[in-house]
Every structure is written in C-alpha cells, then in structure tokens.
C-alpha cells in the first residue's frame, strides 16, 4: 500500500488515542482552578496538590499498597501453576490453566460482585486486604500467560541433561528454570501492577468506601465538580504505565511477550 496512505492512517489512529491524553496534560497545567484547554497560564500546583492534600495522598498510598500486594499474590499463584502446567500438560493442568485465565474472559463487574458477596459472607468486606487478594486472584492471568510463554522457550533437553548429571527438581528449578523465566516473572508482575493501579470496579465493590484508591477518588470527585488535580492524577497514571512498559520494551522482548513469533529485536 502507498506509504503515504499507510502513515496517514497510523497517524490518525494515534491522534485519536492521544487526543484525550493531550487535553488532560494541558488541563493539568492550568493556573485557575478550572478545566480550560488551551490552559490559562502555567502552573505545576496541581501536581504538588496530589502529594500535599491528605485525601489524595491517602488514596495514592492505598493504590500503591494494593497494587504491590496484588501483583505479588498474582505472581505467587501464577509461577507454580505455570510450572505445573508446563511439566504435566494433563487434563487437570489444562483445567487449572483455564481457571487461571477465566477472570479475564468475563466482564469484570461479574467478578467484582462475586468478590463483594464473598467478602461479605466471610466478614472481611471493606478491608484493604480483601481488595488486595481480590485483585491478586483477578490478575493471575497476566503473569500466568507471560511465565508460560517464558517456559515454552526453554529447551527441554537442557533439563534432561541436568537431570542426567544428578540434579534434583529443586536444583533444576533454582539454577536453570528460574533464571531463564525471571524476565517473564518480572513483566508479569509489572503488567499486574499497572492494571491493579488502574482497576476500579473490584476495588469499589469490595472496599470502595473504606479503602479509597485513586480511580475511586477520581470518580467520586467527578460528581462534585472537576478540578485540575484529577487531570494531574491521570497524567501520573499514564506516565507510570509508559515508564513500566517502556522499560519492559527496553530490557525485554515486548513483541514476543505480546505474541509475535519472530522476535522483532
């Protein structure tokens, strides 16, 4: 296809995707406490506000704590599960893998309601820990998929060879398998972290009124009028995501992680 047409098409789509982000960035730099674009004046006060105002800071802290805990839980479930599926490939393994990717196949509002009713039943409704565990289980899919990809890339003859030399399965895991899949574990952790940070509906239904996260805080503020702080929070989110995915692309093989067979690197 003519290169001009091709580039124009890509440019248009990227513009569509970038437009709301550009406006948000502009709005966050406003001097008056109003949402104006193009911005009036230039000020970074709304970014300072995010770290100064107690309510925003509290929401930020909740979000980060939940995201760290949730991605650790997700990886702790996904790593042994991926190992088991990779080694066994029997019907049970396939069923477990299916259970691990199921949360992602359904509209999240369904899982959210399931978690809410569950935590009400066991008596932890409204606790920050409940949100953390719910996110962890909900996001298992991501590390499960990335770690499985990493394991697929391991040459099974290597394992055979080390077995022949007398290594038991723990040694094989520690000295051979884990170092090889470590980058995939880390990117699985990163994916889960970013998505937990941005997740709204589960956090809201499990503990929305007691453990307020940033997305919940933004939505609550939407109802009482817009302030540029919301824009600065949004920019903060976009930056975090770009930074994390950018470093995966820089230090890992992003196209392969996303399923391209021939590595584009």
């Amino acid at each position: 296809m003519p290169a001009l047409f091709r580039n124009l098409f890509i440019l248009l789509v990227v513009l569509f995707l970038a437009a709301p982000l550009v406006v948000i960035l502009g709005v966050s730099l406003n001097e008056p406490k109003r949402l104006l674009f193009p911005p009036e004046g230039f000020s970074l006060q709304w970014y300072a506000e995010l770290f100064r105002a107690n309510d925003w800071l509290g929401a930020l802290r909740n979000s980060v704590v939940i995201a760290l805990g949730a991605s650790a839980i997700a990886v702790s479930i996904a790593l042994p599960l991926a190992l088991y599926v990779w080694r066994k490939q029997n019907r049970l393994a396939k069923a477990l893998f299916g259970l691990g990717v199921a949360p992602f196949m359904l509209p999240p509002v369904i899982s959210a309601l399931g978690f809410m009713i569950f935590w009400i039943t066991v008596g932890f409704y409204g606790q920050i820990g409940a949100t953390m565990v719910s996110h962890g289980v909900f996001l298992v899919t991501l590390p499960l998929v990335t770690i499985s990809l990493g394991l697929e890339g391991i040459d099974r003859q290597l394992i055979e060879a080390s077995r022949c030399m007398g290594a038991n399965s723990r040694m094989v895991f520690r000295t051979l398998i884990f170092p090889l899949v470590r980058p995939y574990v880390m990117s699985g952790f990163a994916f889960a972290f970013v998505l937990s940070l941005n997740e709204y509906i589960i956090a809201y239904m499990v503990a929305g009124f007691t453990a307020e996260t940033l997305p919940i805080k933004i939505f609550n503020s939407l109802r009482y009028g817009y302030t540029p702080v919301m824009a600065s929070v949004a920019v903060f989110f976009v930056m975090t995501a770009v930074l994390i995915y950018g470093s995966i692309a820089r230090f890992g093989d992003l196209p392969r992680l996303l399923g391209a067979e021939r590595s584009a690197g």
Partner: protein, 281 residues
C-alpha cells in the same frame, strides 16, 4: 531414590495455586450463584431462600430495553474497533522493530488506563471549555463552543477507545506471524494492494478477527463507568444496573441474578466463537 520425592514435589507445586483459585475465585462464584436465588433483606444483605423472583424480573419491558442497549452498544463498539484495528495492526507489523515497540508501549499504556480516567479524559475533550468545541469554533465551523457530552455518540466513542487496544493486541500475534511473502505474491500477480489485503490477509485472519470481535464485545459489555460519565440515564448498561442494585439499592440477590445472566451471555459468546473457530480449522 529421589524419584518419589521429586514426583511429590512436582505435584505439590499445584496445591497452593489450586487452593487459592478455588477459595478466592470459584467459591465466590458459587456463593453468588446461590445468592441469586435468595431474597432481599433490607436490614442485612440477604436472607437464604429459594426464590425465582429475581430472575422473573428479567421479563419486564424495562429490563428488555436495558439489555438491547447494552448488547447494541457493545456490538457497535466491537465492529468499529476491530474494523479499524485490522488495517492499523497490519500497517504496524510492516514497520521496523523500533517503531513497533514504541507503538506497542503506547497501546499498552492506553489499554491499562482506568475506565475512570478514559471517561474523565473524553468528557473533558468533549466539554465546552476544554474540548474540540473550542477548536471547531476557532476554525469557524461552529459559531460558539458547545459541549458534545453526554450523548450516545460520546458513549460509543468512549467504548471504542476502551476496546481498540484490546482488538489490536489480539490481532497482532496472528498478523506478525503472517508470511509477508503472501500479499507480496498476490501483488506480483497483479492484485492491487487493497485487493490483496481484502482477498488474502482478511480471509486468513478470519478466526482471529472473530476472536477480537468477541473479546471487545464482552469487554465493553462490562463497561461500568463510561455509560455514567459519557451517556444519559437511558444509556445505562447492564453493568451499571448491577452495581447500582448491589450498592445503592442494596438488593444483592437481584444484582447477583443479573450478573449470572451477564455471565451466561458472555460465556455463550466465547463458546460460539470457539465453535466457529473449530469448524473453519
């Protein structure tokens, strides 16, 4: 012999993940299923019963309208997102490795944006004071700036924005594995670029495209915030009503029944797609 110990360890590895998934994922679903038959209790959350009243409420014209709105909006968003995503991804996979990575990082960042942020960003972009209304007025297309939200168009735009990155990521692996020599060969035989794209690339991707349509459909079906931020109350989808019933009307049994229904619809879609996929293989 270390063989027995190894085998035990090999299987033991599965115990913790299985337990976690059963306790925190499967059991919540079973409880939700049970609760969907319970009856509502104003004081507590629900009382155990076997009551089909929650399901009977689906048979009202109001609920039917909500269902049609939800399914229609998601179907439209799926068709538009995938329609744009196929040529877009095709072009991207023909780019250099560096450019591909940049676009993928950008797409992933958009994909992980919270629905809240997407809703907030679009409502700002479509607003009177900070949006394209200003641009159109400056260009003389509009006499004075106006707001474009809330409206059905704004909501659909938001849903496409939500679904598009997913569509690209589903199509990307298949397209990047596609042998670049195939469309090339078609062109050598005299097909125009557009014809070779529609006659060679699109048919080879039929399963992937169906998969992407289903994924975006199911995913946007779960959109909860966009209908509230960008749409009017008559555009509220099933997901909004589920949360509304659960939290503001404190009617968990009815919310659970609706969630079960939404799950069945989604599962039916996923099942249908894998059935279609198998037939064509």
């Amino acid at each position: 012999m270390s063989g027995v110990a190894d085998r035990l360890r090999d299987n033991g590895v599965a115990v913790y993940p299985t337990a976690m998934l059963l306790v925190f994922f499967l059991i919540p679903f079973l409880i939700m299923f049970a609760v969907s038959f319970f009856s509502r209790d104003e004081g507590a959350f629900f009382t155990p019963a076997f009551d089909l009243a929650n399901y009977a409420r689906f048979l009202s014209p109001f609920f039917f309208k909500v269902l049609v709105t939800s399914l229609g909006l998601s179907a439209a968003a799926a068709v538009i997102s995938v329609g744009v995503a196929v040529p877009f991804t095709y072009f991207v996979t023909r780019m250099g490795a560096g450019a591909q990575s940049v676009i993928l990082v950008f797409l992933l960042s958009v994909l992980s944006l919270s629905e809240v942020i997407i809703g907030f960003a679009w409502s700002t972009l479509l607003s009177q004071t900070a949006g394209i209304g200003n641009l159109l007025a400056a260009l003389g297309i509009l006499e004075s700036s106006r707001s474009f939200t809330p409206s059905l168009g704004a909501l659909l735009l938001g849903l496409c924005y939500l679904g598009f990155p997913y569509a690209v990521l589903v199509i990307y692996p298949a397209l990047s594995r596609l042998d670049p020599e195939l469309p090339e060969a078609a062109r050598m035989l005299g097909a125009s670029p557009i014809r070779s794209f529609f006659n060679i690339v699109v048919p080879m991707l039929r399963n992937t495209i169906t998969g992407a349509l289903i994924l975006v459909f199911v995913f946007t079906l779960g959109a909860y915030l966009l209908p509230q931020v960008l749409g009017r109350p008559q555009h509220w989808t099933l997901s909004v009503h589920i949360t509304d019933q659960a939290i503001f009307q404190s009617n968990l049994p009815f919310a659970a029944a609706m969630a079960i229904f939404l799950m069945l619809v989604s599962l039916a879609m996923v099942g249908l797609s894998s059935l279609l996929g198998q037939k064509r293989m």
